[in-house]
Amino acid sequence: MPIILLLSGIAALLILALLALFLSGRSSATSVVYGGGLLLSLGLLGVGAQHLLGNTAPLELSLPLGLPWIGAHFRLDALSAFFVVIVNLGAAVSCLYGLGYGQHAEDPSRVRPFVPAFVAGMNLVLLAADAFTFLLSWEFMSLASWALVVAAHRDPRSLRAGYIYALMASLGTFALLLAFGLLAGPNGSYAFAAMRAAHFTPAVGALVLCLVVLGAGSKAGLVPLHVWLPEAHPAAPSHVSALMSGVMTKVAVYAVIRIVFDLLGPPHWWWGVVLLALGGASALMGILYALFDADQKRVLAFSTIENVGFIFVALGLALAFRADGFQAAAALALTAALFHVFNHSILKGLLFFGTGAVQHATGTRDMERLGGLIHRMPVTAFCVLVGCVGIAALPPLNAFASEWLTFQAILLSPSLPQWGLKLLVPAVGALLALAVTLAAACFVRFFGTSFLGRPRSEAACGAEETDVFSRAAMLFLAGVAVLAGLLPGVVIDALGPVSSSLIGHQMPVQTSQPWLSIVPIAASRSSYNGLLVFIFIAMSAGIVASTIHVFASRRVRRAPAWDCGFADPNPALQYSASSFSEPIRRVFGPLLFLARTEVEIPPPGSMGPARLRVHLEDVIWQRLYMPVTGLVAGIADRLNVFQFLTIRRYLSLVFLALVSLLLVLAIWS
């Protein structure tokens, strides 16, 4: 029954998309589409949550669609239910935000129809239970999001982004297609049930793993397959960016979990190594890219890459533990990954909404032209601050809880028998710690340059607080983030069925712990209690503040900033985003970005300005992608000659073909 509800909800979303096509131009369209989307995704959310918490058995349904002799299979189990919750939570909030933001997105009639279609596609991916339906919905999801990326079609940059995106997406689909071809075998048993039943040789397993990492990893934005992500996510309107960055990447994570943990059977330990290495690299590279970029939405997109890397590290740990038979540890790592999926979808949505509000208020996403918005847009500023604290993985907010769990899992790694893992995992752990603190730096920079300090442009001076729907959406997400941070045990328990269905083991029940603290393995080993920590901080801050205010002074005088006596009237003199990241660039730039800085000091006496230029090179793009494009272009040029031959030359082609075939025949017989 629930699955029928879900499918009908998805159908309703598709109908809504069609409706949006016909409504385009009407003034009521925005409210109809986003209102409808909000209600529908709330319904889907409810069904999914009910199934997840109800911890009921998997439901199956097959319709006479899709591949004729197989039909379209749908399955709702704990895993898909959890991701249904993630997707539709994000979708609902985005629709709520869209109610306000949707009006003043440019050319809304090109956005409206595709948002419900996009959400429907993502939901279908989660429910699909045979290869054809899965890939169909997967590619449909990519297609809808491509349409959303090129919605601003007059801007050549968004067209370029859309092109790169669609290309990478179809490459990923091809990789998944090959993987499924391998899983289905020559006589085409495309149903997931059949794949679960089948047994695969190690070689096949390895190949499938690589193909899945290629296919789903490119969608999730793993380094070095991430190149499309920072182009495409910012190009879309903000509520869509939130969906793409916060939710669609998670659908990719779902694909990895579904195939590697569910369909592929018992893993080998080195599978974990692949995910660990890629995840670690993504975490570090992603956040470094983010640190060196000045475009708000690009920064967020890059930080998505970092978080995806985090998730993949946790998944890799889960694989390794599972392969070596440490079910409890595997459950811990998997739960950490899924918890982080939840947290990141919440926080990234929140932050993208914030940038959307800022972009609408100031008309720019360039941090170097923002500043001081905390005075003009207090609510937005507060929500974004919560988002920044969260995504920097600081206690007591939610992302810290999941990363704490990940570290607990990492600390269990010494029990793994393979030396490769023994040595790799601590290194990856150090890498993650580095990434986490770099993330803190990145979001200090993010918030500090765009919301604090003094306005750097007229637009920033004249900013207005955003509309009520957007504020509601952001406040809601901020609330969820805080709650999930204070009561992580609840989320962990909700994730129990997922890990038990995938690994056959789940973490100990947390909500029964005293004082609602979370205890992954044993209280003597490690425990964390967000609620208490929060209460302590609040109490002690309150006590100190009130005592000082009561017994000492409470007076305040306003005066110009002191700044060691150099009172600088010009806002351009304050620390800019690029100057903020300068020390970190000094440390990592030369190694990873071939960074070069040129300083021009004018000769003594001349009044000319001194200049400092910084060149960063995206090594991955330069070394990995440019050669391929060059190759294709070169071959195209070479072959293009064949369009301009004379008839005689074409006849000679025919002649040669004939003669060579005859030779083949002569040799063959």
Binding site: L67, L143, H153, L177, Y190, Y650, L653, A657, L658, L661
Partner: protein, 482 residues
Amino acid sequence: MNWLFSHNVALVLAIPVVTAFVLTLLPGYRLSAKLNVAGSLLTFLSALSLFVGHPPTNPYVLVDDLNIVFIVLNTFVGFTTSLFSMSYISHELETGRLTPSYLRFYHAMYQVMMFGMNLALLVNNIGLMWAAIELATLATVLMVGIYRTHEALEAAWKYFILASVGIAFALFGTILVYMAALPVVGEGLRAMTWTVLLSKAGVFEPSLLSLAFIFLLLGYGTKAGLVPVHAWLPDAHAEGPTPISAVLSGLLLNVALYAILRFKMLMALNHAAIAPGPLMIAIGLMSLIFAAFMLYRRRDIKRLFAYSSIEHMGIIVFAFGIGGPLANFAGLLQMTMHSLTKSAIFFVVGHVAQAKGTQKIADIQGLTQSHPLLGWSLVLGVLAIAGMPPLGIFMSEFLLVSTTFARAPLLAVLLVAGLAVAFGALLLRLQSLAFGAPQGKCAPVRVSILPIFAHLALVAIAGIYLSPVLVHWFQHVANMLG
């Protein structure tokens, strides 16, 4: 009613002939265009009636699961194209690119071509099949040159010369098949009757059969536009009137493929002969990859899609070369979907060229804004041809790639590479055509929506739901093809 079922084959062949005669006599293009539509519609209806019942196989005509699908598809696309050509031609008259006298000729030739193709699909005799295909080819040659511009004449001339060589090869192949059959079947007509050949193919002289297949592959492959004998195709598509481009891509290529399939079935029965599979795989891959790269440097919109036709022919031939129920099914599906989609694309492109007054890709931009209907249907069509879901070609390519990878991984990788390259080119052009700020002349056009939407709707439905009847046919044919 029974009369109908016993004579519907005759009708399918007779109606075009009669219409052609009437059209030659008839002055006035409006009436003749309508008559053209009417004739095509009648042909289509009588072809539909073949589903219900048809005369038994005799030495001259043959109706089996393989060609019934082809004939219905053929007549259907013929009908929709005649609808499209009605609005297209009227515009050509207004702009003075064509004169009424040429139109009379045009419509007559259209019916002759339809007759030739229907005949080729229905006859039970390889000699007649050869003759019919040549008839259709010559008709199209004349129509390609109808604009009488330098380019059109040059394209027609090239088409003509290359096609004649193809004709010669096909004939030699046919003669060789006869020679191979001679000792077994005996002299005379029986040795050219398809059904007889099929029943005895196992014991034919194998090496003679192999030689025959090589000539047939090259000969009919020229019509099917396979690399390296494809050279006529892009120019013929680009320079002829758009309805003809649609028919060429949608139908003539299919008919040529049909002939190749027939002979492949013979080869499959004869195990001593050279295996047709590897040859077809090689040629198919060559066509696919070559056309995929050629797509990048195209500046003429119709030539672009002509090359994409070559690419798809490559995919289809590859699929049949791989063989096996899944791959053959994929090939048949791809064939059907391609002819529907590609003709729809050509309908759109024809209108676009009329609206913008040019075929240069560089001069066409922002169609979704200047002509939303045309623009979005172009987007839909190109996504369909590029194999995006939920449209038909996605299903066939899914089946083909997955089953190939399970059997011959390397081939599948090459196939995927070709598909990816082609997708990159098509998407690049699509974005520049459909998006961006419109520029240049933006005249309104009377769009004949029905054919476009009929085709795209069919493709979209087929991507999600295939009717069991169709599936049964395809599966049966797939098993026939072995």
